[in-house]
């Protein structure tokens, strides 16, 4: 277990190093000049040169990357070019909102997705199964923007039950989390359905039925724990996606998460923010996967970590 963990930590460090090099290189090669975004239109060429020098952007690629990396290893993500604040502060200030939306969003995805998948698997081949899978297909393919605006219009504007946009009270999280839930439930329900169908075919399920256990007990106690394994792995990946920010939903509902920060940074070539968010979300994906892998033996004792 200890060697397994050590190996995974080394792997994670290498992955993050790779992500940082690739992202830094892509941003370096981008045919857009961050200095011109900072300097604006009225800046004289002398002002532009000065800013470039101050930021060290006149240096060759490896010098720039090396400086970024050494700062990074000391826990310094740098200062935003345009906001002039510490990137770590900017990300930290948006972390609570991101975590709340992540938790609520994943809860909605699971509640909707697992229920749908379970019902579809048990009623496989029926009209109910087909309509649930059609619904999940719509969920998977519907644009976030449309679903979000529709919910917002119905529940916020027409019915007036929930706040239209903003952050702060539990009521504010309902619509954005529901939007993400509806869309994510499509993926979860399909995975749950196929995984459940696999499990239901197994001999031990037939045995359980033969023992005279009720249908509910067979499903909940025998089938579900085995069917849920791929779902846990998927949650691990989802956590990473949420950490990178759910740009569209955050925009629609004015949710002050990491996604809005990223989007604005990309539009204005604010490289330190883009780097910071990429690394934080890569870190979250790595961490989420690690936790999912570590949890696997507890869910399915047949799995051994090597």
């Amino acid at each position: 277990m200890a060697t397994y963990l050590a190996r995974r930590v080394v792997q994670a460090a290498l992955i993050l190093l790779g992500v940082s090099i690739i992202t830094f290189a892509l941003l370096y090669l981008l045919p857009a000049d961050p200095v011109r975004q900072i300097a604006g239109r009225s800046a004289t060429p002398a002002t532009v040169d000065n800013i470039r020098r101050q930021l060290g952007l006149d240096q060759p690629f490896f010098v720039q990357y090396w400086r970024y990396l050494t700062n990074l290893l000391q826990g310094d993500l740098g200062r935003s070019y345009l906001q002039r604040s510490q990137v770590s502060e900017l990300i930290a200030s948006r972390l609570p909102a991101t975590l709340i939306l992540m938790a609520a969003g994943i809860a909605c995805e699971l509640a909707l997705g697992l229920t749908m998948g379970l019902i579809a698997a048990v009623r496989r081949g029926t009209a109910l199964d087909q309509s649930l899978m059609l619904a999940s297909f719509v969920g998977v393919s519907a644009p976030q923007f449309v679903v979000g605006l529709m919910l917002l219009y119905v529940f916020g504007v027409q019915l007036g039950w929930l706040p239209i946009s903003g952050y702060g009270t539990p009521a504010h999280v309902v619509l954005p989390a529901l939007t993400l839930g509806i869309l994510g439930a499509g993926w979860y329900s399909r995975m749950m359905r196929s995984s459940m169908i696999d499990v239901l075919r197994q001999d031990y399920i037939r045995t359980a039925h033969a023992k005279g256990l009720t249908r509910t007990i067979v499903l909940v106690r025998h089938a579900l724990p085995n069917a849920i394994l791929p779902i846990v792995a998927m949650i691990g990946i989802d956590i990473g996606i949420f950490m990178g920010g759910v740009v569209v939903v955050e925009s629609v509902f004015g949710w002050p998460g990491i996604g809005q920060l990223t989007w604005q940074a990309i539009q204005r070539v604010d490289i330190p923010i883009i780097m910071g968010v990429t690394l934080v979300s890569a870190f979250a994906i790595v961490l989420g996967n690690l936790i999912a892998d570590l949890a696997a033996p507890f869910i399915d004792p047949r799995i051994r970590l090597r």
Binding site: Q37, A43, N50, L152
Partner: protein
Amino acid sequence: MKSILRTTVSAGALALALCAAPALAQDAKPGGSIVITYKDDVATLDPAIGYDWQNWSMIKSLFDGLMDYEPGTTTLRPDLAESYEISPDGKVFTFKLRSGVKFANGREMTSDDVKYSLDRVTNPETQSPGAGFFGSIAGYDDVASGASKSLAGVTTPDPLTVRIELSRPDATFLHVMGLNFAHIVPKEEVEKYGADFGKHPVGTGAYSLAEWTTGQRLVFQKNPDYWRAGVPYLDTITFEIGQEPIVALLRLQKGEVDIPGDGIPPAKFTEVMADPEQKARVVEGGQLHTGYITMNVKVAPFDDVKVRQAVNMAINKERIVQIINGRAVPANQPLPPSMPGYIKDFTGYGFDPEGAKKLLAEAGHPDGFDTELFVMNTDPQPRIAQAIQQDLAAVGIKASLQSLAQANVIEAGGTENGAAMIWSGGMGWIADFPDPSNFYGPILGCAGAVPGGWNWSWYCNEDLDKRAAEADAIVDPAKAEERYKAWGAIYADIMKDAPWVPVFNEQRFTMKSPRMAGADNLFVDPVHIPINYDYVSVND
């Protein structure tokens, strides 16, 4: 930078100037709070650095400069200066400061603060995008190169007098002193917060910053000791950040928002204007903006003036204005109509596809040619570019569209052979201050025709550069008309060479809740963009 994303900086407007002041005094009632939304984060409230749509007018309410403008107009007036004198040669400006003006930290402002603020904004370490505006102050070059920390031309004979000596006469200098970049900051607070001063702004303005939750909201509260009696009217202003314009409009309809700071979303514009009740709450104003097509005079066949003139005749500007729901007026010259120097009876090149074909044939392109048109990739710009493409095709010019992110278009424009044609939409020029010279230097003069510059036509006419310098040497306010005429003639001559197709001048539309009060021109203030927070009020 602010121009980017519709942004802007200040500057002028329609002839709103006349009606402002009288309307203000009567119906404004002190007290109350309002909510304003913006989509993008407020990057900084440091006046030396902020250059965005959102923060431009916020900074004006937290800080003051020596000069400002009559509310809702482009008429200069002294602000922290009580009066000023200009020497006969136009090279020495002496400002008398108001006495008893206090920063939000309670300390009295003096001439040393003015000197400190100007030294700071020009110091390369500040990285101010506006540093170049101060280039005419004596000693600027030494500060810009790092040789000196102090502008030799700025001296303080006594605590209430500032004397600024210029290295050349500069007729726009009073406008420069009205820019945010020239706002006065207290040294002790700047040193206390360092790079984070923009998050902890302390000025002499009508409001002070009471709360700032990054990415969510800012709250401004009234400065009870503001030196100008009677203003501001509102007790607090709450800015909610991260709000999609379309959602802000819904919230306005529910009464949760008083002003959607980013305006009416294009997709909803027709709907709003068709509803009499909503339309009544829309205020329309001009802005000192021109949208144009640049033709790179260093790239064949645009090195031939006949080809550039033909393109000017090929574009159907009326139709392009229709595409954006009439939110603009067609243009025929670089200056917008509300800018001094605009020539009213100038006709430019009318829409004449037949004439364009004839000119192309004379230039040796009877069957047209292939070229590229660069455009920023956010709506409605690609649709406008398609209309331009169709107009060009009608005279035989086959333009392929290069639809890119804004930063990439800017990069291509600033590269010598980077872009044959660019539609400037979304990046078009909005003047920093209401003076005709502001449309020349960076975008049509030789100084801008350099790698990384904003003169995307790469048009450089040294004779015109000389005439521009001569016009800006006319400092005597009594000769302002003569100076504006000189500038008008410069732009008329530019159009003979036709490096641009001026397409339209955008109008600005602000929507407000029924409880908002104050003259209309405060809501489309040409300088305090987008609205003048110091002078608006509520009626409940």
